[in-house]
Amino acid sequence: MPHEARGLQARQDASRTGEPGGGLAVAFWATLKRDLVLLLRRRSEVLNPLVFFALVITLFPIGISPDPELLATIAPGLLWVAALLAALLSLDSLFRGDYDDGSLEQLLLTPQPLPLLVLAKVAVHWLLTGLPLALMAPVLGILLSLPVGSYGVLALSLALGSASLSLVGAIGAALTVGLSRGGVLLSLLVLPLYIPVLIFGAGAVQAAILGDGASAHLAILGALLALALMLAPWAIAAALRISING
């Protein structure tokens, strides 16, 4: 991967020669850009969770009933659970590629604080998984005859919530990246931690349908995201060090 190597080299040069104040921001943006470029080259990895999301949503009417009324009552939960599983599906590859080709070790050796660089990687994961899922959810909401007026809240709650999911999920991904069969274990570790986000995310859509106003739910989702933003990068960094050194 000559491109990655050059990117890393450039980043290290920037940290050495650049002014000390700009080092952190430069490292952050360099990591963000590198991951974005890399992921956009492997388009299938970005598209697969979205296809999975659409497929799972297709299964429910077939498995339960095509009755629009019934579907409308369970649509918020179904959409949220399916989006959550789709986000989970993409987590395994979050650090896997970098682990396999050794660039994760390079990342650990950089002089910049690891939590910050890891935050950039998680941000890319959210930009290419969480955000597309959130934008796609209203379309799938139509398929499940989700009541009118809740589409905006659905997209917003998923956009907010999936950022927390990416952050918390990255802890699990970092813990299992060194294991050969980490996939199932990853979901066992991560899914229980997803429950608060699921409760308030699906609750927001439900509240919007009932006309209660979803701002309280969205505020709690925001609070969860703030908490995750504060704590998760450190846990991810610690987990990566364990996976690499062990």
Binding site: I171, L175, L179, R181, L188, P192, L193, G203, N245, G246
Partner: protein
Amino acid sequence: MWSFIHKLGSPRWFYAISARLMPWFWVAAALLIAVGSVWGLAFAPADYQQGNSFRIIYVHVPAAFLAQSVFVGMAVAGLVFMVWKIKVADMAAAMMAPLGAAMTFIALFSGAVWGVPTWGTWWMWDARLTSMLILLFLYLGVIALRGAFASRDSGSRAASVLAMVGVINIPIIKYSVDWWYTLHQPASFSVTSRPTMPLEMWAPLLIMVLGFYCFFIAVTLMRTRSEILRRESNKRWVRDLAVEGR
């Protein structure tokens, strides 16, 4: 203070001091559980609403308390292990996980059985039972993660990180589940949260809770001693000990 912690951290010193402490906890656990059982089963008055089925409380609540406390204990031991590199703390944490899972199972099983006479069904998505179920998954995740690593040290550190992440999440999960439950089940009667309980009812409960805690400490001490023998089996003092048969 520091020398005390490091002395406690030495497996040899811990092995000696725990030998002296352990019998007291065994005796206390046996006495308290015996007294609490007889009092709770035979002497405490029957509940005015639930009759004698409420006597399940004397095993359900102590187990549920312990299930949560053991997770906190595991996370604290993990923190001590990560910060001060005290191996005994990790041995204790490794021994606490299955015990905590067992307690969670007891709480779940007794709660489900209790559900038959009170709710008329084996399972209800009651707030307490739901958080217990999630806690069980968290325990299983920690146990599985520890076992998944080829090197013991990596497994220990990964399990410590996960326990700490879990312990931050437990209150969030608990409150969101409580909130979710009150939203969906407004007028249901909760089995254990009764404002006034006569002394004859809660005194045996308190005794049982204390007994369960003593039991937990005794078992953890005993199994940590075994774990010391297992991990330090090549040390001179462990070999001498084995010859003496202690």
